[in-house]
């Protein structure tokens, strides 16, 4: 794969259901998550479930498609702001669905794709918008952190074209 993407926004929430807070930079810790985030702290909605959720990403292009009502499945256009979708990182130019099982870098950090994120009714309830169907298959990517460090909006995201040894499906 040959592409270069960009990190647009970083968000964390201190506990399940809490409003997401935007960060100008974040520390990624391998094996845990973003410092201060509910999944780093073990306080997320899905924390009791063993799963890959150290850091979650979503494509800005998917959010742009919802604004265009594309495809027209939910009756009307839906605007979801970066602080609303509850993924940690909003990225641009990154084909997330192709990264399951692969390593890629964000700035000085290395992530690996664990599994595609699946839209949930819980998010629909929190947003009070019908996002379940339109986010199907473009709800983002749940990742492991292989090499930690500090990331900032604007950091480049590039594929490493290496298969990860981390669990993935």
């Amino acid at each position: 794969m040959g592409w270069t993407g960009k990190l647009l926004n970083i968000h964390i929430a201190p506990e399940a259901s809490y409003e997401m807070e935007e960060l100008a930079e974040a520390e990624l810790v391998a094996g845990r998550g973003l410092v201060g985030d509910r999944y780093y702290l073990g306080r997320g909605t899905y924390s009791p479930k063993l799963d890959c959720r150290e850091v979650t990403l979503i494509e800005q292009e998917a959010l742009d498609a919802l604004v265009r009502d594309d495809p027209p499945m939910q009756g009307a256009a839906i605007k979801i702001q970066p602080f609303e979708h509850r993924r940690n990182l909003t990225v641009e130019g990154v084909p997330l669905n192709h990264l399951v099982g692969y390593r890629f870098s964000i700035g000085e950090c290395i992530l690996s794709g664990g599994r595609l994120n699946f839209p949930c009714r819980y998010l629909e309830q929190l947003l009070d918008r019908p996002v379940f169907l339109p986010l199907y298959n473009r709800s983002g990517l749940n990742c492991w952190i292989e090499k930690g460090g500090v990331i900032r909006p604007g950091d480049e995201i590039v594929p490493l074209n290496e298969v990860t040894s981390k669990p993935h499906r």
Partner: protein, 313 residues
Amino acid sequence: MSARIIMKLHVERRDQLDDDLVRIWLKHPLKPHLPAWSPGAHVDLRLEDGKIRQYSLTSDPQDLSRYAITVKRENDGRGGSSWIHEYLIEGVEARVSTPRNNFVLSETRSLLIAGGVGVTPLISMGQALNEKNLLYAFHFCSRRRQSNVERDLKNFCDSTLSTYVSDEPKSPRLDLVALIGSLPRDLHIYCCGPKRLMAEVKELTNDWNPKQIHFEFFSTEIDENYKPEPFNVIISSTGQTLRVPENHSILDMLRMAGHIIPSSCRQGVCGTCECVYRSGDVIHRDSVLSPDARQNRMMLCVSRARGSVTLDL
């Protein structure tokens, strides 16, 4: 089921309306606008110990720069209001959910009946009705005179407001029998206040269309004679069966089995854990669902079943 985002708001100001009544103004520290709400809505407030209490919004729904809640100190309550009176002072952080509305106003001519602090959801409702010339009358009963609250009400419904103060011998008494007996039958009635007041309004409107009579409960009726029995819950998507013993709720058992179910009041009044059921003989013990809604919905925190119930999960 309905989960809500929790916001960290700041207490901007407190107005002491009476010895035991405080209005608390809440602002978002970063965002100029809070989520929109409709008259009658409430928010969940998280207390320091993680418990949750519901309070009606008493500000103007058109002004989203701030919310206000009005809280009466209930010394024999569950502790939430005392904590709020003591610790929710200017400048501190308050953890508040986005608004939810179980007391939705119809666009039709309506009568409002408030008792004590039950006036809180009716303030914004009265204002909205008055703006549309749909406020038939506003009756407000209280033990002591609530001059500040009355002043707020008079701002928008001076000509339709009647107040009744039980501690003042010369104050008139609300004669519900005469009032309800004289009402045009196309009115909607919204009532919030002590259980006795709501029970009387319910009794006197027994022969009305139930869709015209609306109550907002802040705690549920406890039937001391009710003896919970064990029953089964079946999860429709998987066929899994869970046994609910007499000393646990459906909510408890679902959570123990790993289901992620939002809940808030655990008293059947807030509507958070509402769930669709597909079949079963449900014993509804909540104070929030309408008779129509109860045909296929139940509140998992308090309601139970005879034999078994199949949930749409």
